[in-house]
Symmetry: C2
Subunit: 586 residues, 2 copies
């Protein structure tokens, strides 16, 4: 196997160009070996094998520098840069992360997971090179799906006036996670269909030089083109047509399903673990809204599956004009949502929590300053969300709870979510955001809370000690109360804040009468989180407050329950804390 | 005067099209009357008078809906929609704000001040219209400068697949606040020079229909074109060539200086108030850095004057490759900054605080996750920044202080800024952001703090009571200490935190020995601000803490000192608070 002798990109250069396709086949096999056993990003990596082999054959990494957009397509790059064991040998699968990682290799420049960043970061590397008087090649590799993101479009535009070496590889497989959205994809299609010769060209219109490669899996052609652009003295777009999922017929056929996923049988693509077909409370609520309110509409930004609108489901609502995927373009999605609310619609915008980071300004300025009565679903925030440092979302409360006019709700169970969603989509006073934990389950009890009252919910009424538990942590708080009762016979109070944007000051005042210790627990960062607003309220009162939450760090690859425990958020620790407090104060 | 009879857009329609130029001249005179006496956005409004008259002549506002981007060019629109008194009569100048404002008129849809939002918001209005089965025209009016912003580019792209009525007016005066930056401006130039016929067309490449109008001040032509696109059944870009500052020769000649400013003599453009030529500590520090470190570079996003790099100054540094204006494209600016730091440069990115809201994700993911040692200058945050609700920035601490790896510094005086800036641009461990208050002045004392130690600074050592004052509020804290000493003979402690990203826990522990009351004051929102982190630290200790800051609201048109006072942040109130505390506790 050629791959046996490939321990760094230098080893690839020893091969005759004729041998590279064999190396690519071996690389693809190594890739399939791992993704079929351990899961991962299938389609993006299968489609970029030949491009990666050719890039490393022509350019000299780490002197020349690659920036992979999202970096979920970096597996072949890892295989070819000294990390093949992590793909060949199951014992080493966990030696590498699913994204580029400078801690693993000098061939990785950035820890990256969000989309549309590569051209900006590459422009920065290029400018850093210029300031140092060096001359290495800087290469951004960006998929067609990422092009619609504002950061990428801003960077392409700026690259159009930059005047030194920068190579922008557009890996065009005509697919985002789901299908692409936006007018620019019509232009990419025209360019593909005319071998790059279509008269109107988005990249040229942005001032960029341009070259097209139809055969994105023909290594010889790729090597030829890369040799041509190597050491170029100005920015150029190399638009390469590839096939997402290349090499696995079922993945080529069903690109959305095979974007990413768990283990599968490589022979036929049958899944080793069946897809979770369990109830989806978010989808059910959205569907009911759309079916009963013809002025309602659901929007998302490139992640329709997050809301349960998988292929085969969303088409009907698109036809009705009640479902929009704006593509990877969160800023536009959020601002459009504000506009819809201002002109008589009932919009709901939802995406995963880390991607909401793109929308802070739109949430504040376009939505909340205008007090547009729209609903936002922040999916999978907190420790139970994605657990890679590239995708963690431990700061959603920090980002949103302080924005004026925004009602920020944290359901502790499905039933509360259902009722909060009804409240959000029927009121016309404020924007409402709901943080939807992936760990949320049914409580079995219908929720009849009137959310217009802005009141916390007393789950258990006790005395002396009260626990405020945010969202899904309420079950832990109840367990703590049970254990305290068992151990020392004391009934403590458990409070579900429901609202995170403000305090229920009456309740807090009342607690002073018969409580002297408040514990807050939340599943995100403790600094500037929910609990600290309670500490501040009681700061000059005779009430002790202890805030539990996660420390400020880009935590990664953690077990959520262990991470909570490491930060003292466990039944055992908090029960002990309470018993100690009682012993010290009685 | 025709204008006498114009009380709503309906009145304009009564005029023969031949009379419209006279109405436009009168409108321009009303505009000049106000801006020459009271200041404001000169160039953008002078350049859009004819377009506005023609728009209101053809379309039927408020049924048809206009969204003005940034909305700083809405003065003629205000004059023609029932608000002319606010331009003609100095007593009524303050009846209207400088931006569109739904509280003033049914002809204004949004409260808007940030750039690049109009196409998204208009798309939302259009979609809301569709859901309601109505058929009004939706018109976005966006300047060329705003086109480079990610939100605008995302929206143009999405508009390219939207399939109902949407009219996008590009008001192209070939100028942002400063000159434009980005490759797309080469395309606009080609389009202007070919009467819109250049083969490569950015808007068409995004899937949009397109029409060009060279004579942007010829009302008859404008009316003709607007009549053509009225009630169109798909999105279209109407690209109009206008002259920024039209009608005032000096403003047409020097577009950057006449973008906005204070009162002037309309005859010759002489300023009634001389420009502030006083020291600019930010510029001086940046200049020294660039002149002594050839690998250093200053970046900004469309606001070079904010850093003191006015026209005539920045050209030299651009030539040296040490100054970049990326145009209105904050996301790209921040991500590029990360890339430069990763490849051996010493980058500093700075812009005004409200515009940093666009960069939360880039600050967190592109910069801080990668721990890139770059410097960020957040200009004019807090109550002394811009005081319109469209531009307030009371939440910079909320946005930034909690992000892992970021060192967030608050200088209280010029000397601390100088030293912090030196620290930031010479260390290689972390990204560092500095919040630079417009109210910052010299203390007259050189700052020799070692900022690598992460320690708060004890300005005055006392006992019993300590005040933590953020940044420029330290002078108020010292005044409080002086007054307390005078009134009750007590020496209290005054602490300058310097760092807002973390607590100086040793210091806080030590304070417990001889203090029992802490007061925190900050010039931004109190919820999730700096003070609450101190409340949390002492939450379960025998220390009382009171946090002072601004309430959560989109405050507007405030006097900063009064706003502070209304929130208890005044020498008198806090001195009383301290005396009461002492009386109650001794």
């Amino acid at each position: 196997m050629y791959l046996d002798n490939i321990n760094s990109p230098k080893d690839i250069k020893k091969l005759n160009v004729e041998k590279l396709q064999t190396l690519a086949d071996e690389t693809r096999n190594a890739l399939i070996n791992k993704i079929s056993k351990a899961g991962g990003h299938n389609g993006p990596n299968l489609g970029i094998v030949e491009v990666t082999v050719a890039l490393h054959y022509v350019f000299n990494s780490p002197k020349d520098k690659f920036v992979f957009d999202v970096s979920h397509q970096c597996y072949p790059h890892k295989i070819l840069t000294g990390r093949k064991e992590a793909f060949l040998n199951p014992e080493h699968f966990h030696d590498v992360t699913g994204y580029t990682n400078p801690l693993e290799s000098e061939h990785d420049l950035f820890t990256i997971g969000h989309t549309s960043t590569s051209v900006s970061l590459a422009l920065g590397l290029a400018k850093g090179r210029d300031l140092n008087g060096r001359n290495e090649n800087i290469i951004a590799i960006i998929g067609d799906g990422s092009l619609s993101g504002g950061e990428a479009l801003e960077a392409l535009d700026y690259a159009g006036e930059y005047n030194k070496n920068l190579i922008i590889i557009i890996n065009d497989n005509d697919q985002s996670i789901a299908e692409n959205h936006g007018g620019l994809y019509k232009n990419l299609k025209c360019l593909r269909e005319t071998n790059g010769n279509f008269s109107n060209n988005l990249f040229k219109a942005m001032g960029l030089d341009y070259i097209y490669v139809e055969e994105g899996h023909n290594i010889k052609k790729l090597v030829e083109v890369f040799n041509k652009v190597k050491d170029i003295d100005h920015p150029i777009v190399v638009h390469i047509h590839t096939i997402k999922g290349k090499g696995l017929p079922y993945a080529e056929l069903n690109k959305e399903e095979w974007h990413a996923g768990g283990p599968f049988n490589p022979k036929d693509g049958s899944r080793k673990i069946e897809n979770d077909e369990s109830e989806n409370v978010v989808f059910d609520s959205l569907k009911e809204l759309l079916d009963t309110n013809k002025k309602a509409i659901v929007l998302n930004a490139g992640t329709p599956m997050g809301l349960g609108f998988v292929k085969g489901v969303r088409e009907e609502y698109v036809k009705r004009g009640q479902f929009i995927d704006v593509g990877i373009a969160e800023e536009n999605g959020v601002a459009m949502t504000s506009g819809i609310a201002k002109n008589g619609g009932t919009p709901v915008f939802g995406t995963f929590a880390p991607f909401f980071q793109r929308t802070y300004d739109q949430m504040s300025h376009d939505v909340c300053l205008n007090n547009s009565p729209a609903t936002f679903l922040i999916l999978n925030p907190g420790v139970y969300g994605m657990n890679s440092n590239t995708h963690i979302a431990l700061c959603d409360i920090q980002m949103f709870a302080h924005i004026p006019n925004l009602v920020y709700l944290a359901p502790s169970c499905n039933e509360e979510f259902i009722n909060m969603f009804k409240f959000a989509t029927t009121q016309k006073k404020h924007p409402v955001a709901i943080r939807v934990s992936s760990n949320m389950v049914s409580s079995g009890i219908e929720d009849k809370t009137d959310y217009s009252l802005n009141k916390n919910k007393i789950e258990i009424k006790g005395s002396k000690i009260a626990i405020f538990a945010v969202g899904i942590l309420i079950s832990m708080a109840k367990e703590i109360a049970k254990k305290v009762k068992e151990k020392i016979g004391l009934d403590i109070t458990v409070i579900n804040p429901l609202f995170l944007n403000d305090l229920d000051k009456n309740l807090l005042e009342n607690l002073k009468k018969d409580h002297n210790f408040i514990i807050t627990i939340e599943d995100g960062e403790v600094q500037s989180g929910y609990g600290q607003t309670i500490s501040s309220f009681y700061g000059d009162k005779d009430m002790k407050v202890k805030n539990y939450g996660i420390s400020k760090a880009f935590h990664t690859d953690f077990d959520p329950n262990k991470l909570l425990e490491e930060h003292g958020i466990s039944v055992e620790n908090i029960v002990n804390e309470i018993i100690n407090f009682i012993n010290d104060n009685e």
